[in-house]
């Protein structure tokens, strides 16, 4: 699951865009899908996201995310269809408005969640952080905190796995079919995990300081992230998307 947002190397246009532009595109898609009222617009936004993902060869990541999302959106659809009472009945107590609303909810969920995936998997986290510092003037401390937090996700999940394995080997029944029991058994594991994470973050802070963390300024970064012509074009597209969302 964690690997869904791992960087996928490539040289497509999407890869070469400025990280900030990519995030702007994703945000524009999301904003547009929030304001749009027409399912056709939502479907086109979704199609655009999927087309971009396919173009950047990151459909595998998108698909594994969809596997989680589709059951969720189906549940949303069914709930809306069953519980919305207004409108004319189509089948039993299900009304046309309920179906429509269900469709909108389920499309919107997909439109909200998907755009960030292609944007993130085509960007190295350090590039994203550095570009935010350079283009958006975000203080480096915040960018560093953000990238470190994301970098620690797999480290901690490995740690958690190791702890789970050790406990399973001791005979704790994580292989129990009862999910409540499993949850109750997992709670005590927070202690070892917490202890190791506090230690790790402290060590990281020390390591960063010993490599001149506090000397860093906006101009320190070796790699530069200028906005190129393609970025300007993409930003224009962003504006277009938002206008589209508001208009329809």
């Amino acid at each position: 699951m964690v690997n869904v947002i791992d960087y996928v190397p490539g040289t497509t246009l999407l890869h070469r865009l400025n990280p900030v532009t990519k995030i702007a595109l994703a945000v524009a898609l999301i904003a547009s899908s929030l304001t749009a009222d027409s399912p056709i617009v939502l479907v086109s936004l979704l199609a655009l996201t999927l087309a971009a993902s396919a173009y950047a060869h990151v459909m595998r990541q998108v698909r594994s995310f969809l596997k989680l999302l589709i059951p969720l959106s189906i549940i949303m659809f069914v709930m809306q269809a069953i519980f919305v009472r207004s409108g004319t009945p189509v089948f039993l107590s299900i009304t046309n408005e309920g179906l429509m609303l269900g469709l909108m909810v389920c499309l919107r969920l997909l439109c909200l969640a998907l755009p960030l995936i292609p944007a993130l998997v085509t960007t190295k986290l350090t590039d994203l952080a550095n570009a935010c510092v350079e283009v958006l003037h975000v203080p480096y401390q915040y960018a560093f905190t953000f990238t470190t937090a994301l970098r620690f996700v797999p480290v901690f999940s490995q740690e958690m796995n190791a702890i789970m394995e050790a406990q399973t080997a001791r005979g704790v029944e994580y292989d129990t079919p009862n999910p409540l029991k499993k949850l109750r058994l997992m709670l005590p594991l927070c202690i070892p995990l917490l202890i190791s994470s506090v230690g790790k973050t402290d060590a990281t802070a020390l390591a960063a300081e010993q490599r001149g963390f506090y000397l860093r300024t906006r101009a320190s970064a070796y790699k530069r992230y200028p906005l190129a012509g393609r970025d300007i074009a993409a930003l224009a597209l962003c504006v277009g998307l938002i206008v589209l969302g508001i208009a329809y």
Partner: protein, 623 residues
């Protein structure tokens, strides 16, 4: 030359703690030194490194007395950032050292921060990567690297900053012997070619003695011994009382000296030296006309027997072999030795573990094991060895049921792991993990030790009673919070909770890593007693000396397959097998092999310090 780091009467304690982590330490490091710091756990090694790198007083606070001068400046008077431009440090836990997810960005981080002109950055990155020999890893994701590669990235990232001193805290703790040696080779070339001063904390004495130019031994926050490796390791007995191991070949030459066969003084530090020493010794004393160099040996012959020194040495060498061995090879007895311990296998007993043509592939691809066949009987002590990534850990996970075989069958105590739940298997097979912190989850030591029994269905009262007996036997503080104990003691808690289960099978994954010599011996002795009582033991271990001392059967893995299985010392003596599995046999076996070729076939098959010493003595005295 002025020292680059001068530590003058420094004492330090962490925060409010009353115990002093450093106690009146005086030490100076000259430019170009390769200084090794060694000592039992809790002796203050990491604290000393922190004082050198400026982490004390800038990151860890507490009362600090005395002064630390780095490049002539008092570390209290300048900032940590300033100190770190002179002293680069590599921390113990390499995952926390990393700040980026790609090697290149990791390299850039420090360079960017310290404001290295952008025109020089590219050159510095390439230089550092090439010095360490990882130019091909530049674009790689750090998470996909092996432990040894990560260690090199960490070193390269610091090296790119061109520090004048490099301080490393146990850089090889998680590495196999081959990768450890590679790290030391890298450090040597940095030290010799770039003139970077190296300060390294390390437990692997054999490596230290070979690479370091000076060694400081710490004990209880003080520096107990300091000097060249030869000077330090000539104090074998003193080192042992501190809790520091000596290389086995050093023990051999020290024992020879104690028996009066050679003059005391410069001990041997590697197999080559020891081999030459014994060759010369035996040649000199052979019936043929004696060379001038035999003066020492002549004297030795006169005094070899009946000196108190010799007796002490015999007792000494015996005790250090780490074993309550049943036979003491008397002087004059020479030849094939027995296996390290007589296995308590009863004839006709059925195996505790049976692997039949087991294959396992990880879902995402990557490492896999193929066609494993193995049977382990009650009372047997099996060592599982091989390079990192050879499939040892996968094999142990297949045995304790954490992984289920893709094909073939694994039976543990009669249970098929594919149908039995892991928690059921856990009642028969107990695992001691490399990192005790992964298995500790209760509030007190007593609860922790009793936890496994309770999980196995023993009622709370009986469980606590049995736990109390075992924990007291180990001398553990029953009411303490386990996480407040030292690393070594936490490992003992984890061990106690394995012992209390009285399992049919014990699986050990690197039981000795991160432990000092004395803790290591306590753990291994305990495991040996369990084997004597009839538990089968499977041990994954990188320390070939430990394997040689304790395991009577060896399983060598290479590339996911069992390359060979058989009596430990037969396999260690098999040079082509060792080469194939990228392993190095224990020093004593390597030495005995060499001597068997060059001096006398009587050395063949010896694997203990004492046996080699006795055999040499025999040859010298009686030809």
């Amino acid at each position: 030359m002025d020292p680059i780091i001068r530590i003058d009467h420094v004492s330090f304690s962490y925060g409010e703690a009353s115990a002093r982590a450093l106690d009146d330490v005086t030490l100076s490091v000259s430019p170009g030194d390769f200084l090794g710091i060694i000592g039992p756990s809790g002796a203050g090694k990491t604290t000393l490194a922190s004082a050198m790198s400026g982490a004390i007083p800038h990151h860890y606070t507490g009362p600090l007395f005395g002064s630390v001068l780095v490049d002539g400046k008092d570390t209290c008077a300048v900032t940590l950032t300033d100190i770190s431009q002179v002293v680069g440090s590599v921390l113990q836990d390499i995952d926390t050292q990393m700040v980026a997810s790609v090697v290149e960005d990791e390299m850039l981080f420090g360079l960017e921060n310290f404001g290295v002109p952008h025109s020089q950055i590219e050159e510095r990155v390439i230089d550092a990567l090439e010095t360490v020999g990882i130019a091909d890893l530049r674009e790689r994701d750090i998470a996909t690297l092996s432990g040894g590669q990560k260690q090199k990235v960490a070193i390269a990232a610091i090296l790119a900053l061109r520090p004048r001193v490099l301080v490393l805290d146990e850089p090889t703790a998680a590495l196999d012997p081959a990768s450890s040696r590679m790290v030391f080779e890298t450090l040597r070339s940095i030290n010799r070619e770039l003139g970077v001063t190296v300060v390294i904390i390390e437990q692997k004495v054999a490596l230290l003695s070979e690479y370091a130019s000076r060694i400081a031994v710490m004990q209880g926050g003080r520096i107990a011994l300091e000097g060249t490796p030869s000077e330090v390791f000539s104090h074998s007995a003193e080192l042992r009382s501190i809790g520091v191991d000596s290389p086995r070949v050093t023990r051999i030459s020290n024992s020879l000296a104690a028996r009066g066969l050679i003059e005391a003084g410069e001990p041997c530090l590697n197999v080559r030296e020891a081999s030459l020493l014994i060759q010369n010794l035996c040649k000199a004393s052979s019936p043929a006309p004696r060379a001038a160099a035999t003066a020492g040996a002549d004297r030795a012959i006169a005094t070899a027997h009946a000196t108190a020194g010799a007796d002490r040495a015999a007792a000494d060498a015996h005790a250090t072999a780490g074993a309550d061995r049943s036979t003491i090879a008397s002087p004059g007895e020479c030849g094939m030795a027995e296996s390290p311990r007589r296995p308590a296998v009863k004839p006709g007993a059925s195996p505790v573990v049976r692997l039949r043509d087991v294959t396992y592939t990880y879902p995402g691809g990557g490492a896999s094991v193929r066609h494993l066949n193995l049977e382990v009987y009650p009372g047997e002590f099996v060592g599982l060895v091989g390079q990192n990534g050879a499939g040892k850990t996968t094999a142990t996970k297949l045995v304790n049921g954490l992984l289920k075989p893709s094909s073939g069958t694994v039976e543990v105590a009669g249970l098929d792991t594919r149908t039995a739940r892991t928690s059921q298997i856990a009642r028969h097979a107990a695992t001691l993990f490399q990192n005790p912190d992964h298995q500790i989850c209760r509030d007190t030591v007593l609860d922790e030790v009793a936890f496994g029994l309770e999980l196995g269905g023993v009622d709370a009262e009986t469980a606590r009673e049995r736990a109390r007996a075992v924990a007291e036997d180990f001398g553990l503080p029953l009411g303490e919070v386990p996480f407040s104990l030292s690393r070594g003691q936490r490992q003992m808690v984890a061990l106690a909770s394995v012992v209390v289960l009285e399992p049919e099978l014990v699986i050990l994954d690197e039981p000795t890593s991160g432990l000092d010599y004395r803790e290591c011996m306590t753990v291994m002795e305990t495991v040996r007693r369990m084997a004597d009582r009839g538990s089968a033991v499977i041990m994954v271990c990188h320390d070939m000396e430990v394997v040689s001392d304790f395991a009577e059967r060896l399983v060598v893995m290479a590339d996911g397959e069992i390359a060979a299985a058989g009596p430990t010392h037969d396999l260690f003596a098999d040079e082509s097998l060792m080469k194939r599995a990228s392993m190095r046999p224990p020093q004593v076996v390597e030495l005995a092999n060499e001597l068997a070729h060059t001096v006398s076939p009587r050395f063949l098959g010896l694997y203990e310090v004492l046996d080699v010493v006795s055999c040499t003595e025999e040859l010298v005295l009686h030809g």
